[in-house]
């Protein structure tokens, strides 16, 4: 495996949760264990013993990096979904093993077409980018910010390990989509929106993914808030029930889990970081301007975005 010389900022996302909650196995190879046993990715947050940060039970991660590698400025970080973090005390295990194809030679065309879900992933991605209003708004916003997104350059469908659904690799400016874990179009829509929000933040601001937990927390709060991760239906499917203001609880919880999955920080540090930036970042609704609870909201937000010149000129 290539040494951690590439700065990889990844946001791992869990797949659609299944019906059985379970506990994260405490083995350090828990990710692989979960996969082999076909354990569902809906795992409650339970840090394995001996590690500082536990894996996210649900496989929602966030984009972040930590500069642990000596030879390069940035190390890669991925949010792992299944339990079992490598108990490496010296270097942060950034979930690198969850994206094993990142630094490998690409497979041959025939192998890739026949034996992986690559084509399905590409089709679903194309469908999302063409029809989903969330994605279209984000693409337009990024274009306005100077980062035009190209399908073949900035998206990559790969096989991933564990329960990860995707990530944002800031080293290569790519959004990684896990073709083996994304099965439904709605899930693809959500993952793409989530990663595009990270990419948008990367594009418009100096986000210090590596060293600043607050920046990380902020991006993760925004992504959970605006991508539809925390809709009532999704939460019910994860067996998390609540109504009054539950959206905020969900966003907070997912942000904390993400941070803990990819950074070796204590739970208290993660919670503190999230609490400090929560108000600012929960209310930062760029580029949507509202919290889009449905495609109608997203379409409206897209319209408002397109009309923003008129809006700003006539204030």
């Amino acid at each position: 495996m290539r040494p951690r010389s590439a700065a990889l900022r990844l946001t791992a996302r869990g797949p659609r949760p299944s019906a059985l909650p379970g506990h994260a196995p405490s083995a350090s190879r828990g990710g692989e264990l979960a996969r082999r046993l076909a354990l569902p990715c809906l795992l409650p947050f339970a840090p394995p013993p001996g590690t500082v940060a536990g894996r996210r039970g649900e496989g929602q991660g966030s984009a972040m990096e930590q500069g642990e590698a000596a030879s390069s400025p940035a190390a890669e970080e991925k949010a792992a979904a299944a339990a079992g973090e490598e108990a490496e005390e010296e270097e942060d295990d950034f979930g690198y093993q969850l994206f094993p194809d990142r630094n490998k030679k690409p497979q041959s065309f025939l192998v890739r077409s026949l034996f992986t879900f690559h084509n399905r992933c590409q089709l679903m991605l194309r469908m999302t980018l063409d029809t989903n209003p969330y994605a279209q708004l984000l693409l337009e916003a990024m274009k306005q910010s100077g980062c035009t997104v190209f399908n073949d350059r900035h998206f990559s469908c790969e096989n991933c390990d564990g329960c990860v659904s995707g990530g944002f690799d800031s080293a290569t400016s790519q959004i990684v989509l896990c073709q083996n874990n994304i099965r439904h179009q709605s899930h693809m829509n959500r993952v793409v929106t989530h990663e595009l929000i990270h990419a948008f933040d990367h594009c418009r601001a100096h986000v210090d993914w590596f060293k600043n937990v607050k920046h990380l927390a902020c991006s993760e709060i925004r992504a959970a808030n605006l991508s539809g991760d925390c809709t009532l239906m999704n939460e019910i499917a994860r067996f998390k029930f609540g109504l009054k203001g539950h959206h905020q609880t969900c966003v907070r919880d997912r942000a904390i889990r993400s941070i803990l999955a990819v950074r070796k920080v204590s739970k208290e540090t993660a919670e503190k970081a999230v609490d400090e930036v929560f108000d600012a970042c929960f209310n930062d609704l760029e580029p949507f301007g509202r919290i889009p609870h449905s495609k109608t909201d997203a379409k409206r937000a897209y319209r408002d975005f397109q009309n923003r010149d008129r809006y700003n000129a006539n204030l």
């Binding site: 390069s72 920046h215 209310n283």
Partner: protein, 98 residues
């Protein structure tokens, strides 16, 4: 001309009063939405379009500016870039530092 078209204000008002939006607002913020502002904005917009009343223009612009200020209430966590990241368009094999 008004910052938004009057149909937009009307749509926002109708949407705000709907059950779906009320539910989502309660789910997200823990309280019911207040829609009177959109109605006032719509009235002001119509007055503006009809008679170009200065008071209506002022009221509408004030309301919209207040909305913008509300969004900027909190200090941003990060500094905004002035230009996009330099490696955004680099071809893939040249991206990874060695």
């Amino acid at each position: 001309q008004p910052p938004r078209s009057c149909e937009d204000y009307w749509w926002e008002w109708k949407h705000c009063r709907g059950l779906r939006h009320a539910f989502h607002h309660y789910y997200a913020h823990g309280e019911m939405p207040a829609c009177g502002r959109w109605r006032d904005d719509y009235e002001a917009c119509r007055a503006w379009e009809r008679g170009r009343a200065a008071a209506a223009q002022e009221a509408l612009c004030k309301s919209e500016r207040a909305r913008v200020m509300e969004k900027q209430k909190y200090a941003p966590v990060w500094t905004l870039r002035k230009s996009p990241p330099p490696d955004w368009y680099l071809p893939l094999d040249q991206d990874k530092p060695n």
